[in-house]
């Protein structure tokens, strides 16, 4: 009987698939998505993803000037398109135009040798510069806005046997955080880059250290407004405010972005309880025709602006005011876009490709994008502010 069923299963597969005429493949679109994913992932934004329904209808807005049948799409080459009276992200204090190649790091329009700067996902931009785990050693460092590189910790961690390979940085304060990883736990360390001293440390004991990732059982992966978000392998997120020692489990979700508003994994309506953080914090869960839950497709990142008011679409070219979905700005950097990131001055940073050449761009809501680099064979990566 089983043999007969096996034959029928095989015939069913063969007949059904033989009848099938697959839709045409758009390889160029796959390549674009792949490049974007590769770049965003390398920008440190891969661990928590939100996703979208591609090609779905989007809330219509009004193009400044005359009516546009397809609002939100550039109508004049290179010029941004604004809908709903959007002004775009607001500026904050901090380093501008931060990006890197394997050989150099650019901050505030100046380019410095990479030195021990790694070519991976560990660096994050903070108020006073780029915090990063040094190449090979993982020792937490800061590249200041003048290009100097300073170690924030000794070669060997005080606790454990290695650093976590990830240094979180706060865009709104001098706070950075890292993990010191040992076989039975992780010390989460908060550090003040202005004072050059450790603020506090908090121990997280591992339940099952041997099955943990290279980060250990806990990694401080987002720092925002004085709060360090620690991802643990229980799983879940713990919020730690080193200034007063507050240490609260928020729930099973993971924080993706945090600038007053927390973007989480979108995997459930009540994943994070932010009430323990006090006033000024709330959870941002993007829903509706444009954003959907993570499970829907699963490989685009939501980037949240520093003022917590704007999110990018999965293409990265359009930002949306999540309070008012009709308010959008769509940027049009020349070339095929491979990465996007907010800049502290209120503009958007892009890396595009034309042919095999990479180029970085600075785009505002009011003018054509300005190139930050010449076309180059070297891959250019943007550095994220949080996850």
């Amino acid at each position: 009987m089983n043999e007969k069923m096996e034959t029928r299963v095989k015939q069913t597969f063969d007949h059904r698939t033989d009848e099938l005429v697959p839709p045409p493949v758009d390889v160029a679109a796959l390549v674009r998505r792949g490049r974007r994913r590769r770049s965003w992932r390398s920008a440190g934004a891969a661990a928590v993803a939100v996703a979208v329904v591609g090609g779905t209808a989007y809330a219509a807005g009004t193009v400044a000037g005359d009516a546009d049948p397809d609002p939100g799409r550039p109508t004049k080459e290179g010029l941004p398109v604004v809908t709903g009276g959007a002004a775009g992200p607001q500026p904050v204090d901090g380093p501008t135009a931060v990006f890197h190649t394997k050989s150099s790091v650019s901050i505030d329009g100046r380019t410095y040798p990479a030195g021990n700067f790694p070519w991976d996902t560990g660096p994050h931009v903070g108020q006073l510069g780029v915090a990063y785990p040094a190449k090979r050693t993982g020792v937490p460092h800061l590249m200041k806005r003048d290009g100097s590189q300073v170690a924030l910790a000794p070669d060997r961690p005080k606790v454990g046997d290695r650093y976590s390979g990830w240094v979180a940085a706060d865009a709104a304060s001098p706070l950075v955080a890292w993990g010191e990883v040992g076989p039975t736990g992780v010390d989460v360390v908060a550090y003040d880059t202005a004072k050059g001293s450790e603020i506090a440390r908090k121990r997280v004991n591992c339940q099952n250290a041997t099955s943990s990732s290279s980060f250990g059982c806990a990694v401080p992966y987002v720092a925002s407004d004085g709060v360090v978000f620690v991802h643990t392998n229980r799983p879940g997120t713990i919020a730690w405010r080193p200034a007063d020692g507050t240490w609260q489990r928020l729930g099973d979700g993971s924080v993706s972005q945090a600038h007053g508003k927390v973007v989480d994994t979108f995997s459930g309506p009540d994943q994070l309880d932010l009430s323990v953080l006090g006033d000024g914090w709330s959870r941002l869960r993007l829903t509706g025709p444009f954003w959907e839950e993570q499970e829907k497709q699963g490989d685009a990142e939501a980037l949240l602006s520093f003022d917590g008011s704007w999110v990018t679409d999965p293409e990265g070219k359009r930002v949306e005011d999540w309070h008012n979905p009709e308010a959008t700005v769509t940027y049009d950097p020349p070339g095929s876009e491979v990465a996007a990131q907010y800049d502290t001055d209120g503009s958007m940073l892009y890396v595009t490709m034309s042919g095999d050449k990479y180029r970085a761009w600075d785009c505002t809501a009011t003018a054509r994008c300005e190139p930050l680099t010449e076309p180059t064979d070297e891959e250019i990566r943007l550095i994220s502010w949080d996850l």
Partner: protein, 169 residues
């Protein structure tokens, strides 16, 4: 020498139909197969420099696909569950245009648990050996055998009552 992107493009264009049919066998639905292909091939692109050096690119891609499919099934299972007052009853009324029972079997295959379904696809559609299936799914060869057997038994048990009612058994 072709660039990595040119190489990737050539591979996708050459293998699209073949891979799509595997995706369709795994999902049972053209739209879901297309989603699975997109997700799989984007992942493959991200790792293409490594993939292109693999002994068998197809084996690597297949492995990505079946794991992606399992992941998608898990999430869809959570979201797609609908509670109903009555248990599912196989249709027995009206004209049946399925003399060989393939429609019913196709539907039942796609109600199987993800791993069992993947084992059936790899074994009876891709004609892979137990060892190759074990590698693709990262399970023991013995598990391949037991999962295949369990799936076949389940299909037989589920199909029989329907066909008895139709007078086909």
């Amino acid at each position: 020498m072709a660039t990595a992107t040119e190489d990737y493009t050539a591979y996708v264009e050459e293998s699209w139909t073949r891979l799509f049919r595997t995706a369709y066998a795994l999902t049972g639905d053209v739209t879901a197969a297309d989603d699975l292909m997109q997700a799989t091939l984007v992942k493959v692109f991200v790792s293409w420099r490594k993939v292109r050096k693999a002994d068998s690119v197809d084996a690597y891609v297949r492995r990505v696909m079946v794991n992606q499919a399992a992941s998608t099934w898990r999430s869809r299972t959570r979201r797609a569950e609908v509670l109903t007052a009555e248990p599912r009853v196989a249709a027995t009324d009206g004209p049946v245009h399925d003399p060989d029972g393939e429609d019913e079997l196709w539907a039942l295959i796609h109600e199987l648990p993800a791993r069992q379904r993947a084992v059936l696809v790899l074994r009876y559609y891709e004609d892979l050996s137990e060892q190759e299936i074990a590698q693709a799914l990262d399970i023991a060869p013995g598990t391949v055998k037991s999962q295949a057997s369990a799936a076949i038994v389940k299909l037989r048990d589920r199909l029989m009552p329907v066909q008895v009612e139709r007078g086909q058994a």
